[in-house]
Amino acid sequence: MTAVTTPVNTPAAPPGTPPAKARTRARRGPRWRRTALPYLLLAPALVTFGVFKAYPIVDSLLLSFTTGNGSAGHADGLANYRRLLDDPLFWTALRNTGEMLVVQVPLMLALALLMAVAINSALVRWRTVWRLGIFMPAVTGLVATGVMFSFLLRTEDGAVNRLLEAVGLPAVDWLGQPFWARMSVVLVLSWHYTGYNAVIYLAGLQSIPRELYEAAMVDGAGAVRRFTAITVPALRPLLLFTVVLSTIGTLQLFDEPYVLTGGGPDNATLTVSMYLYQNGFRYFDFGYASAIAYALTLLVSVLGAVQMRLMGERDR
């Protein structure tokens, strides 16, 4: 690209050339074109970013300092943020999100790691099929997932309860009881993203030099020892990456509870993002919804920074 648009070296003016003014005029056109072209090519992306990302980000910050809507809307300083601190539903949403985060992220990542190690094993045949199988949920659409699981988790005749009953366990009211509704969300979330993380780990596993394992085996290290002493340390950058990404993803959790439980029962699966959505698009309190969005942003940044610091430290 640069080789074409930028001349490698400007040739010196040959003797007896016309006055400088004419020369510059002659070159102005192409130079203008040369400098404008990259911007022109970037323009669609920049304009789209400006209109659909930058503008809403700035505007929602301004909105978060206003209350009321319609002709009654007016600037109101930090009123929305003060209201947030006194809002029991916001704290409920925060607690729900936290509880699901603490259970779901470690569970999912451990499972993903085990899956990756299993598929990477030399003993496994048809790896492509397995890989495809575990990655499939990650590309399944939101609505399909919601409909599928609401059928699987039905109390009376759902497949999950049938299975439980077949092994002698009692049926569970998956979506009707607060605790189980939360577990249902954890279940669907894990189903959706475990394969995605497993594929990331799998890529990492394949880049670990085989000689390390061979040397360890010569030294008499068993399978567990090889896993903890070689695999896990080698995957640490990827572990950090997935932990941070999963944490951010779960903090912003919306899709799964939205399609599965609607935030209920009695707000047991209400997440911060769902509460934001309700305030913005059900009650049209955009100022308050914006304040929730910025509170969430702050939380995500702080938690992300803490994780990077804790887990990334040994690299330095």
């Binding site: 002709s71 009654a72 809002d87 009695d266 707000n267 049209f284």
Partner: protein
């Protein structure tokens, strides 16, 4: 056709309120242009915005109207529900630009429009609307009246509450529901009903409120007492005594084990289809709905007046209503008003619309028509329309949905779920809900 089914109405509240707020934001930008500057021409083409079967019904009135009013043409447009709420909001926000002349508006939107867009709808009292005030079912006039006491719409559809029951089930238990004076009388015979009808429940309610709140029953019990989430001044009454009484009736019914859980969007219809419910406390549109949807249960259902909540209390309630309003921005407000008056204040018009579109009329003088007394085979030869006509004539108390209905509904629904799942005390959870509603809306608690 039940063009105002409960699910449609719920769905409509979401989408419509979106429009209300979106438009509100626009209004903020455009507030300088102020109110609409329409005109009072009494000729021209009047555009009417409505939806589905109601639009169809309105079209049926047009030929006669145009014949009686030379110089006025009427164009009825089916905007669709919930799309119409979007379009009205955006139109009002734009100072009336692109708005129809006549607008069909539900009771859950009218207060919001009046609150958020003062001057957006034409003052119909100026055209003499007040002369018709006593022709409509009692309890509807306050809904169409603005804070200034002037009328901004005329009532069209009214849905009085009824008590549908499976006669075969109650017969088995030797119970006659027409003798119930209060809901307590039903609760008192619950055990007898249960013994005679194993596996059959009285009511079906979506206890976890997934995916949508299922508050119709509790709302109806509040309306029977002349109460709602808000009073007519817009103050919060969600934590009031009548509200607690309503939720307590439901809790006591549930304690008898005769309130089935109806999970999911189709839970209730599934229970009905399999014959597992013996009571359907539903408004007038249900008369046709039950017949169309559960045709195989023909002859088993009957209708009676809903029992009162308190001894000697009211046995009539108007669940909801829809109205026709005139846009203040219309250049031909008088012509538009003429059509509204023609369509809604003459028994012949409203009855032809009832036949064509199933819109149960709010105009009480319409009930003299013989079609209301006609027996219905589905209801064992009962004249269900006559019962509803009587109930509408008795009238209800006005219900103020305000512009914050969606929030109130959600909080009331959370309270109901707490009662179902945790056996919470109705009065306590409703008091908390009222406090939260006040915190969220800035309204005061009455």
């Amino acid at each position: 056709m039940s063009h105002l089914s409960r699910r449609d109405l719920l769905r409509a509240s979401g989408a419509g309120l979106l429009a209300l707020a979106a438009g509100g934001a626009l209004a903020a930008c455009d507030s300088a242009s102020g109110g609409a500057s329409g005109g009072d021409a009494d000729t021209g083409t009047v555009t009417v915005w409505s939806w589905a079967t109601a639009a169809l019904a309105l079209r049926g009135v047009v030929p006669a109207f145009e014949k009686d009013n030379p110089g006025i043409k009427v164009d009825v447009q089916d905007i669709g529900n919930p799309a119409i709420w979007d379009k009205i909001t955006v139109g009002l926000a734009a100072g009336g630009q692109g708005l129809g002349d006549v607008l069909h508006i539900g009771c859950d939107y009218l207060p919001g429009y009046l609150e958020k867009f003062p001057g957006g709808l034409a003052d119909l009292s100026a055209f003499g609307a007040d002369a018709h005030r006593d022709k409509f079912a009692k309890g509807l006039w306050p809904v169409v009246t603005g804070k200034d006491g002037h009328a901004y719409a005329l009532p069209w559809e009214a849905n009085p509450l009824g008590f549908f029951y499976r006669k075969d089930c109650f017969d088995k238990a030797g119970i006659d529901p027409t003798t119930f004076a209060t809901w307590d009388d039903l609760i008192a015979v619950a055990d007898r009903f249960k013994a005679a009808n194993p596996g059959i429940s009285l009511l079906g309610i979506n206890k976890a409120a997934n995916p949508d709140p299922d508050l119709d029953f509790v709302q109806n019990l509040m309306q029977l007492q002349g109460a709602f989430y808000f009073d007519l001044q817009g103050k919060i009454t969600l934590g009031s005594e009548p509200a607690a009484r309503a939720l307590t009736v439901l809790k006591r019914l549930d304690d008898t084990g005769l309130v089935a859980d109806a999970p999911g969007a189709h839970g209730w219809a599934d229970l009905m289809k399999t014959g597992k419910l013996a009571v359907a406390p539903m408004p007038s549109w249900a008369a046709h709905y039950l017949e169309a949807k559960f045709a195989d249960q023909s002859g088993t259902w009957r209708l009676t007046k809903p029992p009162a909540v308190t001894p000697g209390g009211k046995r009539a309630a108007l669940v909801n209503s829809t109205h026709l309003a005139v846009a203040a921005s219309s250049p031909r407000r008088r012509a538009a008003w003429k059509f509204v008056e023609y369509a809604l204040t003459r028994p012949a018009s409203v009855n032809s619309m009832f036949t064509a579109g199933g819109v149960f009329p709010a105009l009480t003088t319409a009930y003299a028509d013989p079609m209301y007394a006609a027996p219905s085979a589905y209801y064992g030869g009962q004249s269900v329309l006559k019962t509803f006509a009587d109930l509408a004539t008795d009238g209800g108390d006005a219900t103020n949905f305000t512009g914050d209905y969606a929030r109130a509904l959600k909080l009331a629904s959370d309270a109901q779920t707490k009662v179902f799942l945790k056996g919470a005390d109705p009065a306590a959870v409703l008091r908390d809900a009222a406090k939260q509603l006040a915190q969220q809306t800035g309204r005061t608690i009455a």
